[in-house]
Structures are given as structure tokens and as C-alpha cells.
Amino acid sequence: MPSGALLFQSVILGLLLGGLYALLAAGLTLYFGIMRVVMIAHSAFLILAAYLAWFTHERLGIDPLLSMVVTVPLFFAAGVLMQRGLLSRLRPMTLTMMSVLLTFAIAVLIEGLLGYAFTGTQRRIQLGYGSASIGLFGARIAVVKLIAFGLAAVALLALYLLMKKTKFGWALRATIQQPDAARLVGIDTEKIAGYGFGLGLATAAIGGTALSLDTTIYPSLHWHWIGPLMAIIVVGGLGSVPGAAAAALLLGLMQSLLQIPMGTTWAQTIFYLALFATLAFRPQGFFGGRLAQRF
């Protein structure tokens, strides 16, 4: 039986990890809501952002967090371009399948380019405050993990406020829920859809920076992220942001707790078990998401 402190620490770490999952899953959910696109390249962009953060620190000697000044707008633009230039040009009839392939191709391309530019060597940021940690009721939590969680939480909150409180958010929600009606009231749904994609990719930029703080990165790492992320959005009910967030926290927590008896590798299987169980028994997901049934 693991000690109480260890359990407590696992719970904290699981929630911290879940926060990052939630942010990234929110991005995936956004794409799916807008266009019914499963964006396989999301996690490749995540790793790309992590590499850019590492590069900023390693080669330019600047704090990795500052890389977001460049990556967030850059990724936003890339997202808009990708939606307007590529995905919206696919045939509507085969959009779901072909968009998966296209984003898959982009993921493979990014992985290849990363390998080409930075080689397959594992990279890790060594920060001055990297080894600092704080104690809390006997649990030791690394400061960088807290920073990463803070980033994710702030970004999620900003996303939430943007969606709920601004005119753009209102238009975006209208585009997702009732595109026809949205057009009727004068929303340029195509433009909004592009911005929505930009927003989704911006979450990958923030997530990637957060990830780079305490994770060893390598080009093919994105496959380890896309699996869990896809499981999260299915369990949460495709298209539901609150569902994705709840599933992210829950699965992140379970992964962290299962690491105690099973080790890190096997603990990952929880995502896939949850994925299969959801699809076999409750395909619409466990947290609402009424779109899911048909996709």
C-alpha cells in the first residue's frame, strides 16, 4: 500500500497533467466542432512549439516562456491558413476521412522536418528554476509543473471567457451549433471557422511551451500525445468542451495514480481502455456531446 504522501502527490501531479490535457483537448474539440475534423496534427504542432521553446532557450538564451510571444500568433496564423487554404477546399462528401488524412500528412511532415532540423536526439530544457520544488503536506511538486499548469489554466480560462463573453466567441459558438442560422444573422461563418482553427492551434503553442518546461522532447513524441488526446475527446463526447475538460482531468488523474502500481508505460493504457470502453458501450461519450452519435 503506497503511503498517503505518495498518493497525495500522485493526485496533485495527475491534476496538473490533466490541466494540460484539458487545454489541448479543448483545441481538438474546437476543430471538431467547427468542421468535424479530427486534427491529427494538433500534437505535432504541440511538439513543434516545444521545440521552438527549447530553441529559444538553448540557442538564444531567452526564457522559454517568452517564445510564446512569437509562437502563439504564428500558430494562430498557421491555423487560419490551414483551414482556409487546405481543409475548406476538400470535398464536403468525404471531408471527415480526407481531413484526417490531410492532418495526418501534416503531422508526419512536421515530424520529418523536426528530425531533419534538430535530429532525433532527445532534448530537454535546463532551467535555473527547473529543479526547484515546493512541499505541500509531504508531497513534492516541481515548480515547473506548477508553471505549466498555470499556463494551461490561464489559457483555458481565457478561451472560456473569449467563447462566452465576446462577440467573436458568440459568433464562433453560433457557427459551431447552428451554421445556417449563424449565416442568416449575418455571421461570416467561413471567416469565423478559420479564426476558430487559429484559436485551436494557439492552444497547441501554449501547451507546447508548457510541455517543454519539464519534458524530454523528440520528434516522434507527438504520437504519445495524440493517442491520449483522441481518447479524451471521445470519452468526453466529441464536440463538447466541458466534457473534454472533465475527461482530461479524470484520465490524467487515473494515469497518475495507476503509475504507482503499474509503472509509467502500462499506466498509459488507461486512455485506450477508456476509449474502447466508451465506443463499445456509450459511443456518444460520457459527458454529453450530442454530435458524437453520428460521427
Binding site: V38, G115, P179, D180, G227
Partner: protein, 368 residues
């Protein structure tokens, strides 16, 4: 060769009424048959022409790709469901065969067949979870499958050998290397012929027509009385069985399995790329795609070794095909032919409702 659902052919049908379709297929059919015979002859003659065992082994690898992408096309071509995880099924076939030989002491052939049956059995629950809902979930499960298998086979080292690999004894220990290659080359050619034959059989059957109806409009097919879920599941299992056979044969030929290569996401994406490039609605589409892409892959591997450029090239090529040639090379070629004898183009077109619907869909952001 066009698939049976295409406009230009109606094999076995009564002579079409005097209308736009009469007369046209003849030239096309002759050309098709000639091309198929030439292709078969080239495939069979290749071992005699290959200057060295290395080239011959490259030929085997390409044939392996051809079988894999043809197997993939049972699902992708008929139902339109795109699986990115068929690599996992090939890997399972390979490991299944290898483990049955090494751990259970079965003879190679028996191990191959048993492994195929086991994979087909495993495909049932996988298909059950993946095919109950439409589209997106299927792709998600297919990718997850590869990631899970990689995880399991790397971690479960006591059985699978983990990253140290699994050595599979050769089925024909007495044969010299070139002979060994030659035997496997023909085994692969036979398997390819079998896969093509079954695909052809399904293509012209009622079952196949039902599958194609699913590809075109699943709700509509269901409303017409097609048990779509059962159809998808059956064809998925058939596809898995052929994929597993190809993987098993590879294990026996290559003799050394490593999870990183057996459960690589790339294997699946190669299958998709090849089938899509050739044309998923065509019997020989995946084969043509495999010949082109497979040969290029082997050539680049020989010239430059394994580099990230493989990934870049695969990504770019797949992206280009999806954007600009989603129907593949063969239909494009056929359209080119059709332009030469245009007599059959009649003016039935008023407003195409499909276009109307496309526009409508486009305007709703692809929601149907």
C-alpha cells in the same frame, strides 16, 4: 480495371439498351486486359531478371506493400472508412506467426494460418468498437490500435522479446539465400493473386454492392435494408485476415521482428498512400500505388538510408494526393482515355443534384 460500380462497364449485364453507353467499353476492356496480362507477366518474370538477391528482396518488400495495400482496400475501397492502423494488424500477424513458431513449436505454415485466424478473431471486438459509430471514431481507434500495440509489445518483453527483437526461424532451413528469396517472392505473388481475386469477387457481388452503398451514403443504405454494421464488420475482418497473412509471411521471410518497425504508424500510412495514389475504387489501384511508392521507398532507402526525409516525402505526397487526386491515378488515366472518344457524352446533365448538395454541405461547413 474499373470497379464494377463505375459508369463505363457493366460486365455480365445484358446488352445495354441503345443508348449512350453502348460500344464504348470495348477498347477500354482490351487495353485493361492487355495491361493486366503484361503486369502479371512482369511480376512472374521478375525473379529471373533480378540481377542480385538484394534487388530480389526489394521486389519482395514491394510485393508485401502490394498485398498490404490491397488488403487495406477491402475496408478503404469498399466502405470508404480510412484506417490508419492496419500496420498494427500486420504486426500482430507477424508476431502471432513468430510466437507460434518459437513458443508453441508449430510448423511455419500452421503458425501462419493460425495467426491469421487469431487476428481475424481479434478484429471482431476492434471492429465492434470502431465501426459502431461513423467516420471519425473509426480513424481514432485505428491510430490508437497501433499506439497500444507498440506499447504492449515493447513493454511485454518476457514474451515478445521487447526491443531486443524476436528471431523467427526460417521455414526452409536448407535453402540458400537467393533460393529463399525466390520462394517467398512467389508466395507473396500467390497471396497477392488471392487477395485480388477475393476483392474482385466481392466487388461484383451483392455484398460488395451493399458495401459500396455504405461508402456512398450510409444512412441511405441502411434505410434500403442493408445491415450496414454487419457488412462493415465482416469486410473489416476479411481485410484484417489478409493483412495478418502478409505480416506473417514477412515474419517468416525476414526472420527478425522489432516492435518499433512492426507497429510503426508509418506502415499504415504507406498502405493508405499507396491505395489512394492508385485509386481505392479500382481492383488494381493499390497494386499500382504500391509499385510506384514501394519502389521509390526502396530506392531511397538504398540510396540514402533511413532519414527523416522519408517522413517529409510521405507527408508531402500524401497531402498532395488528398488535395489534388483523391480518386487516384487509374481513374485519372481513364478519364484521359475517355476524352479521346467522347461520343458517349450525352447531354443528360441539367443541374447535378450532387453538386447542389455539395454546395449546400459546403455552406453548412460540412455538416450532414
Amino acid at each position: 480495371m474499373p470497379s464494377a460500380s463505375d459508369t463505363v462497364t457493366a460486365p455480365g449485364a445484358a446488352p445495354a439498351p441503345p443508348g449512350p453507353a453502348a460500344g464504348r467499353p470495348r477498347l477500354g476492356r482490351v487495353l485493361t486486359i492487355a495491361a493486366v496480362v503484361a503486369l502479371a507477366a512482369a511480376v512472374l518474370a521478375f525473379p529471373g531478371l533480378a540481377p542480385n538477391p538484394y534487388i530480389l528482396s526489394a521486389g519482395i518488400v514491394v510485393l508485401n506493400y502490394a498485398v498490404l495495400s490491397t488488403s487495406w482496400n477491402f475496408v478503404g475501397g469498399f466502405t470508404g472508412y480510412i484506417s490508419l492502423g492496419h500496420g498494427a494488424l500486420a504486426g500482430l500477424g507477424g508476431y502471432g506467426t513468430g510466437l507460434l513458431v518459437t513458443k508453441a513449436g508449430l510448423p511455419s505454415l500452421a503458425a501462419l494460418v493460425l495467426a491469421m485466424l487469431l487476428v481475424a478473431l481479434i478484429a471482431v471486438p476492434i471492429g465492434f468498437a470502431a465501426l459502431r459509430v461513423r467516420g471519425a471514431s473509426f480513424v481514432i481507434v485505428s491510430i490508437a490500435l497501433v499506439l497500444i500495440m507498440l506499447l504492449v509489445f515493447q513493454s511485454w518483453a518476457s514474451v515478445t522479446g521487447g526491443s531486443r527483437g524476436l528471431v523467427v526461424p526460417r521455414p526452409f532451413p536448407d535453402l540458400l539465400r537467393p533460393e529463399h528469396h525466390r520462394v517467398f517472392y512467389y508466395l507473396y505473388a500467390g497471396l497477392l493473386a488471392l487477395a485480388l481475386g477475393v476483392w474482385w469477387l466481392i466487388d461484383r457481388s451483392r455484398f460488395g454492392l451493399g458495401l459500396k452503398a455504405i461508402r456512398e451514403d450510409e444512412d441511405k443504405a441502411e434505410a434500403l435494408g442493408t445491415p450496414t454494421f454487419a457488412y462493415k464488420l465482416v469486410v473489416f475482418v476479411v481485410s484484417a485476415a489478409f493483412t495478418a497473412l502478409s505480416g506473417g509471411l514477412y515474419a517468416l521471410w525476414f526472420g527478425d521482428l522489432d516492435p518499433v518497425f512492426q507497429f510503426s504508424i508509418l506502415t499504415g500510412s504507406y498502405m493508405v498512400l499507396m491505395a489512394l495514389l492508385g485509386g481505392v475504387r479500382n481492383l488494381f489501384g493499390p497494386l499500382v500505388g504500391a509499385l510506384v511508392v514501394g519502389t521509390a521507398l526502396e530506392f531511397f532507402k538504398g540510396s540514402f538510408g533511413n532519414t527523416p526525409l522519408h517522413l517529409v516525402a510521405t507527408g508531402v505526397l500524401l497531402g498532395l494526393v488528398v488535395m489534388f487526386m483523391p480518386d487516384g491515378v487509374l481513374p485519372a488515366l481513364r478519364n484521359l482515355f475517355a476524352r479521346f472518344d467522347r461520343t458517349r457524352q450525352s447531354s443528360i446533365r441539367e443541374v447535378s443534384a450532387a453538386e447542389l448538395r455539395d454546395q449546400r454541405l459546403q455552406s453548412t461547413g460540412g455538416k450532414a
